[in-house]
Every structure is written in C-alpha cells, then in structure tokens.
C-alpha cells in the first residue's frame, strides 16, 4: 500500500520551491519504512484521489494557469477537504481556494470559492515569518505583496513577520493547512511534516515513527530555521 502525495503545478506553482514539501514528506516516510510516492499533477486529467496534496505558489503572471489547474481538480479538492485529507497550501496556493485574488497590478482572479477569504494588494514583505501554532513555532520565509482578509480559522498567530496581515497567518480547516512560509516550510518544521505523515499513515492502519535518520536531519532543521532572516 503505497501512499500517494500530489504535487500540483510544476510550471505554475513551484516558483519558490514549495512543491518540494512533497519530497520532504516522501523522504521522511521512506526513512520510517512507509512506502510513499509523489505524483505530479500538471494537467486536468492527472487529478486523482490522493493521500495528501501539496499546492505551491507562483508569480502573479502564472495565477490564471494555476487557477485553471485547481479548477480542474475542484471535485478532488472538495472531497479531500471533506474527508480530512491533508492539503498543504502555500501562499498563492491557499489564496486560490478563497473568493478572489487582486494582484498588485490590479488584476482580479476569482478563487475556487471554497473559503470566504480574499486577498488584495499591499506592500511587499520578505523575511522571517514565525507563526505560533498550538504552542509550537512554524518558521518560514515569507515573500508576498498581498494581505488576506476574511479568514475565519487562521493557522496561528504571527510572532514575527506579517502573514495574512491581521496578526494571524494562513488558514486551518479540516485537513487544509494554508501558510505563507516558504522554505520549503516542512523542511524547516519537521514537526508539521510528521503530523501530516502520522495522519495519512493512520488512515491506512500504518504507524509512522521517526527514527535516527530523522533525528539527525531534525537537528539541522533547527539550525536552518534559526538562520532564516
């Protein structure tokens, strides 16, 4: 039983390397002896049922293409969200699930409308983003020129940086984890990767347990996260 993790949008949603979060999940699973494969979703007919989905982020010019790709996967995304399938969505990735995105150039792109929030232009912010999530810290590098308003269930409170712009970052709803942090974020925050892996392993009656290989790399993750600026 090989677990399947989708990486959506190689051409339009990987500008900042966020689809590599799927690779982080796959490697950690492999080190724990759990068979995982990553599946590229770049065309409408590549949408399928998955154990986890990673939506990345891309530049403004690529948003229409990204939106079209996500629209083609609307049913998959809606089912996933209903069933509690983990969906990690970074920056534009989670913005596209909302009502609409208005870019710095004034272009408005409709979202999938799965959530009530919208994003609109603001001053560009780049730098260290630290979000407190249920007592743990999520560290990433944010790089965006929009603010998100109308998020009813954010992921956490911002300790350092801007995030959504109202003192919170991201969105959390069922399996959806929306974040602004790049990194890839799971590389800097293995605890979140392990949470996701724990969930999807359990769904298939498997026990996910990190071991010595994880411990070594997690030491590096702490140092790398501390150096984000």
């Amino acid at each position: 039983m090989t677990l399947r993790i989708a990486r959506v949008g190689t051409e339009c949603l990987n500008t900042f390397g966020d689809l590599e979060n799927a690779r982080v999940l796959a490697m950690r699973a492999a080190w724990a002896g759990i068979p995982v494969t990553t599946v590229q979703v770049d065309h409408p007919d590549e949408w399928d049922a998955f154990d986890a989905i990673v939506l990345g982020s891309g530049t403004d010019g690529l948003l229409p293409e990204a939106r079209a790709l996500l629209e083609a996967g609307r049913d998959v995304l809606e089912s996933a969200l209903e069933d509690g399938v983990p969906v990690l969505a970074v920056s534009a990735g989670f913005e596209l699930l909302g009502q609409q995105i208005t870019t710095a150039r004034g272009t408005t792109i409709p979202g999938l409308g799965l959530f009530p929030y919208s994003s609109s232009p603001s001053e560009r912010v780049t730098g260290r983003l630290v979000v407190e999530v249920e007592g743990r810290q999520l560290v990433g590098f944010e790089n965006h020129d929009r603010r998100v308003t109308g998020v009813t269930s954010p992921l956490g409170t911002v300790v350092e940086g801007i995030g959504n712009g109202d003192g919170h970052d991201g969105v959390r709803h069922g399996g959806l984890i929306g974040v602004h942090g790049h990194g890839p974020v799971l590389a800097f925050n293995p605890w979140l990767a392990d949470e996701i892996l724990g969930t999807i392993s359990a769904t298939h009656g498997l026990a996910y347990a990190p071991g010595p290989a994880h411990a070594r790399i997690d030491g590096w993750a702490v140092q790398a996260a501390a150096a984000v600026h």
Binding site: T15, F16, E20, T126, F141, N143, H144, P184, A187, A224
Partner: protein, 417 residues
Amino acid sequence: MYDQAALHVGRLARVAARIRKPGGGSAIPGVVVNRIAPGVLAHAFSSFPLGLQVVSGSSGKSTTTKMLVEILRAHDESVFTNPSTANIAQGLTSAIVEQADAFGRLPGERAVLEMDEGHGAKLIPSLSPSLAVLLNVGVDQVDRFPDHELVTGYLQTIGQRATEHVVLNADDAELERIAPTMRAAVSRFGVASSIREAGWPRLGLVRLVPIAERAPLDAEVVAYEDRSATLRVLEDRADIALPAAGLHYAVDAAAAALAAARLLGPAFSLQTAAGALSSMPPVFGRGQRVTVRGHEVDFMLVQNAASLDLNAAQLRPGTEQILFALGSDVRDAAYLWPAKLRCLDSVTIVSGLKAYHAALLLAYDDVKIGRVEPDLHRALDEFLALPAPSRGVKTVLFSADSMRKTRQYLGLSGPES
C-alpha cells in the same frame, strides 16, 4: 571641466580609502563621485567613438559580456568593460575613476557593459546604447526578483533604450513577448530544435517558446557536447571550445557572436570569433580544474536551480569527494530545491553560511551527507587534507559568496567569475 574635477575627487577618495583598507577601494569613491556630479556616468558613456553596448539577463551576463569583449578585441578593437562585480552605478563609476586618464578620458573605442537587471533598468534612462543583448528571464534570486514579470519589465526597459540592435533569446517566451516593443531591429539566437528535443527542454528559462512557434534564428547552437559546440551565425558555421562544460555557455557564445556580427557588419569573421571564444581562459568556479595544496580540485559555481541541476548532472557518477557550500548570496534558498541532486549520491562535507539549509536540501533528495561544517575555512582544510579519492577528482560545488571566500582563503587568483 566639472566632470573632470569630479573624477579627480573620486581618484583621491579611492587612494584615501585604500590607505584605510587595503584592497577595499572599489565602491566607496563611486558614491563620492556621484554625489558631486550625477551626470558623470552618462557623460562618460556617451563619448565612445563606437558607442555603448550592454548585456543583461537573469544569468550568463558575465560570461556573455566577456565573450563579446574578447571577440571584439580579436577584431582589433579596444574595448572598455566593467568587471563582473561592478554592475551597479557606483561600481561602474569606480571603474571609470580607476581607468580614466588625467584628463578624465576613458580608454577604448567602445564600451561593453554587463548590466544587472534591476540596477541596470534604473541606470539605463541616462544612457544610450546602440545595442542591447537580452539573454534570458530565468528563476534567479527570487527574494530580489520574486516576480519574473518584474525582470521581464527591467529587460524591456533596457532593450528599449537600444538605438540600433536588440539581440535576444528566441527560446525565451518572456523575451519574445516584449520583442515587438523594441525600437531597434531585433536579432535572435537560440538552440537548434534537435538539441531542444534531445533532452534539454527547460534551458533554465521561466517560459519557453514551443519549437514550432519559434521565430527564425539569426544564430544558433547547432551542436553541443561537454566543452565544445558548433555555432551558426548568419550564414557561417564554426566549431568552438567552451570555457566550461554546459549548454548555457554555448548559448552565451551564440549571443555574443551574433552581437559582434551586428556591430562589426562585413568586418565580422566567425572564424576570428571562434578563435577568440576557444582561447578564453576558463573562468574560476565554472568547472575549472585547479591544483590546490597538491590536489587536483574541480570547482563549480551554483547560482540557481538550473545551474545546480546541470552541474550535478555533469559530475561523474560515484565522484567520491564533494564539498558543497551555500553562502549568504540569497536570503531565501528555497528556489534551489527543484534541482535534482540525487545523482550526487553523497557529499563529504556541507559548509557555508547556509550549511544547515544546504544539508536539508541534499538530504531530502536522498544524498548521503558525511558531515556539516558551517565554518568554511575549517571545511576546506579538512576537505583538502583528505587523501586523493580513488576515483575521480575532489569536487567543490559552491554559491558565489562561498566561492569568493574560498578563493580568498586558498589564495587563488585568476579571472573573476
């Protein structure tokens, strides 16, 4: 006379700065000069008999500029150019200060300048180049250029200032998009369809023009292998040796040769150009083999996911000793993650200011890691002290910042990257 006085002041300032900090006189006097006479730069570059030409793009600017300069010099022209690090206004002004004679005149019949996309776009309104080379819009330094459309905009600004020729990459969809907005005649270079189809699909570009939709090429890379290539420029063909392994070097050569052909007209000889290109010294850090402390070492520079991909793929399988160092060049190294590093198999030491991030990058692509040593000097000492590998050559992969520090530490001289 006002500008001349400004240059004199600048020179004095540079001398003063050098007394305070040996070798540290580059950028400081530029600031001084520009505060006194903001038009110094514009004036200096408007007085070359054969005009000003500029080279810009996400990557390859430095190599292409050097190639174009060498081709022109091989045609007996004297060319003023900026060293690779001086691609902002202050650095350029300092270069002027260093080379101007007592009367404030610059040597050379023409000036060929490398221009950083962002800083260049700011500077170019005060300059009037006769020709601009636009190399590519790639994914590079995403914390400085988070939106590739910004880069396209910068290159459009630079290209639109050219009065006679714009030489651009026909494989690059972003550059083709802005080609109709150029004032000057557009010439195109690219990679032969056969090469693109044979497994070089991405070419490090954000968006590619599909082969079937590509405009006719004035110059192209007809054949490529390792460190040699065959170029077609207009009606002629020639084989060339490249300063380092990599298809992108062949593309840079095609761009430089085409630009030279437009500048020299009937006086251009592809054979002469080929000779110049083939005898260019390898640039440090571009696959150059150097003997250090009694060992042969290959040094390879990494600047973005595309070059990291290419460099990793080019290493002989089973290269035993690799040092991988990532420095302070970029704040967010996440954009390196799409590179495929699995072929490296194992890295002996990971170092640099971003050593831990580099370790994550490698480990999550299943590359075994010997040890992480953030102190670059210590890492280099350890790496070089290891006995010679039984197979292959010690190899160092590094980002620009780690490269500069390595060169300094090991006392390596040679052409700047």
